[in-house]
Amino acid sequence: MIAAGEPAPDFTLRDQDGEQVSLADFRGRRVLLVFYPQDFSPVCGDQFSIYQEVKPELAAKGVELLGISVDHRWAHKAFQEKLGIDTTLLADFEPKGEVARAYGSYLEKFGFANRVLVLVDEAGRVAWTYEAPNPGEIPGANLIFDALA
C-alpha cells in the first residue's frame, strides 16, 4: 500500500463516458481515489450510494471523488445509471489493474482491487490512506471526514 507523504503515481484512465481523466488534471485541488472491487456487487452499490448522500458536504470541503475499478467503461456507465450517482468512475481495465497495482491496492488472488481510499493533496502527494480489512467491508463516509478535519 502506498503511504502518506509519498507522491501519488500519476495515471490517465477513461471514465464512464470515454473521456480521458488524468490525476494531474486535479493539481491544485484535493481528490479522493476510491478503489473498489467490482461494479454491481451489492457492497459497491451501498458504498457509492452512501457517499452520494454526503456529496454536498464533501464538495464543501473541496474534495472530488474518483471511483476506480478494473471494470470496463461501459460497465461503469451502466453502474452509474443504476445507482443514480454522478461520481466519476475510471476504468483500470487494460492493462488490468495497473493503477491499482501502482497504489498497492490490487488483490492478486481475486483479480481486483481491495476497498482502498487515497486522499491526494493539492500538490499531488498522498495525504491519507485507508485500506478495508477485507473487500466486503465498506469504509464509512465518517472516515473520509475524519481525514479532512
Binding site: I50, E53, V54
Partner: protein, 159 residues
Amino acid sequence: MTDLTSAAVPPIGADDHVRGEGEEGLIVYADLGCPRCAADWAGLAGRPGRIAFRHFPVAAKHPRSPALHAAAEAAGAQGQFFAMVASLYADRGRVDDPHLWERAERLGLDLERFERDRRGEATLARVRRDFLSGIRGGVAGTPAVFDACTLVAVREREF
C-alpha cells in the same frame, strides 16, 4: 458546516421511535426502500426488549426512500409510526403518493395533517438528523444494528 467526523451513535433518547420495553435496547438504522431492511425488520419484530428505529434513507439507491421516511414520520406525529413502517415494508411495490394516502386512511390518520406534516421542514430535519448520526457512527450499508451504541450486525454480503 455539518460535522460528519466519527462519533458514537447517540443512545436511545426520548424522541427516538422506540418499540418494546426494557433498559438497554437495539438501535436499527434502516432504509424504508430497502428489501434487506424489510426482511430483517420482520425478523426483529418478535424479539423481546427495546428497539429504536432510525431513518437512513439512501435516495441514490432507492429514489422513493426520502418520501417514505417522511410519511413514516408524519404518521408518527399521529401515533402510528410503527404501523406505517410495517405497512411500507409489507407492500414494497406500492409506494407512490396515492398508496401513501390509502395507508394513511387505513391507519385512521387525519389526511390533511398527514400531507402537511410529511412535507414539512421539521420532518425533513428529523429524518436527516438520524441519517447524519448514522453516517458519523460509520453506517455504510443498511440495515445496521447497534447494541449499546456499538455496531453488532450488518447483513452479510458478497463483494
